[in-house]
Symmetry: none
Subunit: 401 residues, 2 copies
């Protein structure tokens, strides 16, 4: 019996409510000039008060040293083993924009990018072109057919798109073309086993054709593909936890991931205030709320320490909108750390705060990485947050006699 099977056996429906506030890329690293992390630099009186009232700890999203993508990070948050339940980026992006994948479809995440005359990548995100431009360029690429495989291309946001390969005998076991760095050429896509050679061949032909069609569209004059994947089949959160869950997220990928584990997905606006308003409007109709805040991660990825601090302060200011709903359990955490000094996701543990009537508060008085080290949750696994939230909501019965 694995952990989710155990939880499924002892979970029960009840009127108590859980809010899981996910601040994407929450954890950080010290600014070399000040020695303080983004959280330590930010003024967060409301989060600090929650830290006083709640129980705190630091969680490994996957395992020490492992830097998670957004998919594994969120699966872990929802309590699923992120290693055995791996979901490809392509599938996530597709689901997030309501693309209905068919059995056998292989989806890939695409970036428009900039290459120079030698074919070397100069910007992996093509200067983050506007959404409208992205949609126009996707039309240029959508519907290409290669050896009876049709490639459907859907815009996501900015430089991001989804490519769905639909045809016979396609498998996702291929490498990526994105080298994850600039100054080099894109990589050829290679089959990881003999059955994937068709997929690799079609993908490489598609990329070549895309390059031709985009040649005059600098800065978006090439594409990078990664995250080739097929849709997995996960038990839903309702099945496991007996919850009625709602997801509130501005960015498509997080809505997609929530849908994959069976959450309803709310329509919401584009700001933090919109999200909190959506939460309030739907509060009576659900008992679990996954509230996703993206901008901390974006600021960290851009290496913008000050902006990450600002966003944390903005979240803190609007936090009473969440606290005032008086959920039985409020969890504030992240899917991983995104330290500005690393300009990307990292392996560092991520702060976890849980507040409930029965949380056994610790002596922590500040919402920060260092303060949380002495918290009552100690060092935990991110997958353990959901069972703790369920327990604190009194939604888990006793295990064994």
């Amino acid at each position: 019996m694995d952990n989710l099977e155990l939880i499924k056996e002892i979970s029960r429906s009840s009127p108590t409510k859980i809010i899981l506030l996910v601040i994407d890329g929450l954890g950080g690293l010290p600014n070399p000039e000040t020695g303080r992390t983004e959280l330590e630099a930010a003024k967060t009186p409301n989060l600090d008060e929650l830290a006083v009232l709640g129980i705190c700890g630091m969680a490994d999203p996957i395992a020490p040293g492992i830097t998670p993508g957004s998919g594994p990070g969120h699966l872990a948050l929802f309590g699923y083993d992120p290693i055995s339940c791996l979901i490809g980026r392509g599938v996530l992006e597709a689901i997030g924009i309501d693309v209905e994948l068919q059995p056998g479809d292989v989806a890939a995440r695409g970036n428009f990018c900039t290459i120079d005359k030698k074919g070397l990548i100069t910007d992996r995100r093509a200067g983050r072109i506007p959404d409208k431009k992205c949609a126009e360029l996707c039309k240029l690429l959508d519907g290409i057919s290669i050896n009876s495989v049709k490639i459907l291309v859907y815009p996501v946001r900015e430089h991001r798109f989804v490519a769905v390969f639909r045809g016979e005998n396609l498998t996702p076991d291929v490498t990526e073309s994105d080298p994850s760095q600039v100054g080099v050429t894109a990589l050829a896509i290679k089959a990881l086993n003999s059955e994937a050679s068709k997929m690799a061949d079609i993908a490489n032909q598609f990329i070549a054709q895309a390059g031709t069609r985009l040649a005059e569209h600098h800065p978006a004059n090439m594409v990078l593909l990664r995250g080739f994947s097929r849709q997995p089949n996960l038990p839903t959160m309702s099945e496991i936890y007996k919850l009625k869950p709602l997801a509130i997220a501005v960015y498509p990928m997080y809505r997609g991931l929530a849908r994959l584990v069976g959450m309803d997905v709310a329509s919401t606006g584009t700001t933090l205030e919109d999200e909190f308003k959506t939460l309030k409007q739907n509060y009576a109709n659900y008992d679990f709320f996954f509230l996703h805040v993206k901008w901390t991660d974006s600021a960290g990825e851009d290496g913008d320490f000050g902006r990450k601090v600002q966003i944390l302060e903005q979240i803190d200011k609007t936090l009473p909108a969440v606290v005032n709903l008086e959920p039985d359990v409020l969890v504030v955490t992240g899917d991983h750390s995104t330290p500005s000094v690393l300009k990307g996701h990292s392996w560092h543990t991520v702060p976890v705060l849980l507040h409930s009537k029965y949380c056994r508060p610790d002596a922590v008085e500040k919402f920060s990485e260092t303060a949380f080290l002495s918290g009552g949750l100690g060092r935990l696994q991110l997958t353990q947050v959901m069972p703790l939230a369920m327990a604190n909501a009194l939604k888990l019965t006793k295990f064994g006699a």
Copy 2:
């Protein structure tokens, strides 16, 4: 190789002695009026001194968020994986009162309870009737035969009894009749698979007959059955640890569990002083002592914060009787938390204190949940306590060359 197989390979017999003092339901939650837990409210100078001399930590009995029954909690304490070694409550109770189960027997834990005229349960424990009354009522029910299945009914204590179903083709895969709440009717027992339909049918008929026979015996005018189970087959502690273990416990279930892992079980009295006296009398003849103190859990289950504090103080006062034996290793811990404010077992971590000549003391100076958070054992699994005790007793050889 799982953990127990590893321990079995490297364990060795030696003259050193280990005492495992289990204070049932040890951990608590803050009293809302004072903000202090039962342990923080109690004056425990002897436990505090041990905390100064020893190494401390907080343990998850099963996993974060999981509330264990007494069976899984104790199996974890003895080092057995409590999830794969699940033991039914019925079997535990039966073993604890020296009922010799035969192959094929299915045992259930029974409660005498009170129902009103509508059949709604008003007290799941029938006012905790005296032991003598329990024995009288069990005689009323003992020996009923239904379709060639004989039902043997044995009194335990207060409102508790064991029903053993002896006959052909019985399997324990049935649901319970105890709804775990008052104000509702008892549940019909249902088969969980096709092979269990006979068991469910017999159990429901037995309950109906019991109701008739008990009708005039208010408050004990009905029975609730749960924990239908068969005896498992576990490796003994002598096989795994090369120990000669003795159990000292007032309550039957804990003696039963100890017997299940191959411990000898001492005759003892009904008080803490009796138990400590029994320990002293048997100290020369064993090298491992499981000493179980039940009353903390009972007070917690009754929601009696003050009584739990008193019992903790009483344990502390008599503790020198244990310490003065100068065991090579003394462990003080619990099988789970039973916070008075929750009136039941809980998922919270439980304090672990280990004292030995080689324990590497930490800076903890107080025996409490909050103080132990900064202890040298950190946050650990309860199953890891036995290997630590064995190591500190120098009973484990090096692993690998």
